[in-house]
Subunit: 255 residues, 4 copies
């Protein structure tokens, strides 16, 4: 399991959420409180939208807590929409290519959870990727695969919620066909540069935690609350998708 | 293009070939003489057989010339059969998973060259991998793919030369089917812990350079001669496979 | 020897100088044309001023040419004053702490050159550092030491040109006292967030190259011209300091 | 605080202590049980004596738990005398130069603990280093400094126990002169290729834990027991030095 956060709102310094809160994501990399794995030290990444259509993305295999570059970057980059992720590797080796956020065109994605029995279904899932998205596969994680499958369907014209639903559905089908009983767990966030979507779902009844908080005329989403203002964070209900845009957020049933 | 060396013979310190010669592989990482890319600084690796059936393998994304761990390792590890490789990335990002030698069971492999139009044929080639070898795919390079395809056929009972021949043949077929005119180039070495094979071949008439030299009751193979004794190194003829065992070497037509 | 560039002017994306020119600094990391060492692959760094008094600084031990983070950063960060540096290690191991730019409070510094006989004079030079600057020593390079000595004198009230002059003078004195005949060579740039200074000097008559070019209502300084517009770059004369501010540049005799 | 282990006895694979035990040092890097810092993920190192007078040393800034090179190295290197160390950084940045074991000539050293108020006494301690040892200072840690001071005295003819005693004494004197009340804590091991010494001491009454266990005709020393055989490990008494040689171990009062 991993820890992540997402922000959409007035431009703020990344450090306001990534580094400064008492229980910031950097702190969670060393000592998470609600995660199955306490330490999330197998690399990390941040991605942010600035002047361009596609995000700037920084990946590193070192633990977030010991990377001075991350502190410098977060102290000097201001963004209206950014993601950050600290990794506890479950499948796939330690490499930058396996660090979140993944990105493709204007899209960016972070994930906490995993595909049960991934080695057995990986091949079948990769077979579902259209050629252009297959060529864009850079690492070996289940998370990147879920992302590319989703983007492929969005690129094909599907609404975001339908794309995610159908990818989760197809994945579970493949898992069942292989007789896998381990669950598919999926807390995730997706952005396109203007809006963001957060997802909380699992094929069993234990989706990873995910919280939402109003923040500076916008919202922050995080695997666990970031600090002293614990009561300001509301759990996102299981099986929900939250759609975040400037000035509004809407919840939808994911299944 | 990359640079590599292979050794089979009486146990010697790795540094005797990797670090100490005037034009050692470490030196070639900074300044190769016969390579298309002068600098081979996109990671490196060494692999050696010791007491176990499978080799010990060390991969690093830093350039070989600046890695003190490599010097320490090579000054202290003695082996009868080892490979070393410095990389100039052509396809696939910089990661340890993309560094040679690749290994699987008792087999170890290094490669210099590339599959023309790799992004277009990658998918088709990966489809040829049996499931167990597909699951063992760790990076994204063409070299690892050629290795796993070869090992899959060896594991299936094919002699080494036939396995390599058929993999090269199938790859060229796929390239042609995709209308790729860029060549497949293949200088490589394979080992199983007891014996080693060196290959020099290309689909056009320009196979990467490869040299052979008697060394300490055994042989060294290298992309370019390692130093002052240039005349002791003989070019391996194009389209040949050299089979190296204790006390003997034999050349075979590869095609 | 290393390669560096400095920019002061209207805010531009870092990539406009660091990555995009035909002979950009990233390109020079792999293949410099006027340097004693062709490859500058022993780490690199960029530093830029944004909203804060002190600069954001990014250091990495990988070669600049293979770091995707650098591309992403430079494509998304815009600054009115920034430095970039690719390193060919002469003294001091490969570590982020030994990568330029060095920074202290509002000051940032990059250097190409070296102190002849550094191991013999290092101790004597370090003894000249006041305690607070000694405590801020993070790596082991001669460059960081020249920077901290300079900043200590500026902090003590000395004008920049006098601080640099006296540090160079004291260093040469120490070298002579130790009987060192190798030269002190010094192409460097210093910034304080508002203005920048470029220096070209050597204790023999062979100072490292340094060029100046008007750029976007400001100036770029570089170890060698960045591209097609070679004629737009003027060599900075030996033994000179160039003082760069918004709208003006002035040259001073450094000795 | 960090975690370490030392072994002297019949040659064994490093993995027998570093990787394989239930509570191995690799496991302790992620989840130590008796340490002030649970996670020791700020780099690590192993050092071993083989055919040469000086040890082979491998340093890495990644956490030990995620480094496949470490597993490969430990599975293939056999030694009669080796050290391993996982770091939780207290002073000094994350760099290979700051990773243990430190080495100089035939000597190798690992340390758990710290010099209270190190930034204030660092300069005074460095002033005690003779020139040749000062020139060998590669990083910025208190541990390396304690090592070089000790080796300088051993090189000057002092017995090991007197060298360590006098270094600890001088350090405490300097701390007092600076009015530092934080303690000097020192669990450490030193080797010269034939014999090893383990130390447990603190200037207050809280020396870091250190355990001793007979192992394969020799001994293992560790910050905490390595696994199921907890009862086989005896705490080393505070203020003691254990001298380990082939076939014998002797305890001495350290103060």
């Amino acid at each position: 399991m991993c820890r992540f956060l997402a922000y959409l709102g007035e431009p703020i310094l990344l450090e306001d959420l990534v580094c400064k809160p008492r229980h910031s994501l950097v702190r969670q990399s060393l000592r998470a409180e609600e995660a199955k794995t306490i330490t999330n030290g197998d690399g990390f990444g941040v991605g942010w939208y600035g002047e361009r259509e596609s995000p700037g993305v920084y990946h590193e295999v070192m633990p977030a807590w010991s990377d001075e570059n991350l502190l410098a970057l977060c102290a000097n980059v201001r963004s209206r929409l950014f993601f950050a992720h600290v990794r506890a590797a479950t499948g796939g080796g330690i490499s930058r290519q396996n660090c979140h956020p993944f990105h493709h065109g204007p899209y960016m994605f972070i994930h906490n959870g995993q595909i049960g029995g991934y080695p057995q279904v990986r091949r079948g899932l990769e077979a579902l990727l259209p050629d252009p998205h297959y060529e864009n596969r850079r690492g070996g994680t289940d998370s990147e695969l879920l992302f590319l499958l989703t983007v492929a369907r969005i690129d094909g014209g599907m609404p975001v919620i339908d794309a995610v639903r159908s990818v989760l559905h197809d994945t579970v089908d493949l898992m069942r066909a292989k007789g896998i009983t381990a669950p598919l767990r999926f807390a995730a966030a997706l952005a396109d540069g203007e809006q963001a979507w957060a997802f909380r779902w699992a094929s069993d009844d234990q989706p990873p935690t995910l919280y939402l908080k109003p923040q500076r005329g916008g919202w922050a989403v995080a695997s666990e609350p970031l600090g002293d203002d614990a009561e300001a964070w509301s759990p996102i209900a299981p099986d929900q998708m939250i759609h975040l845009r400037a000035g509004q957020q809407n919840a939808y049933a994911l299944v």
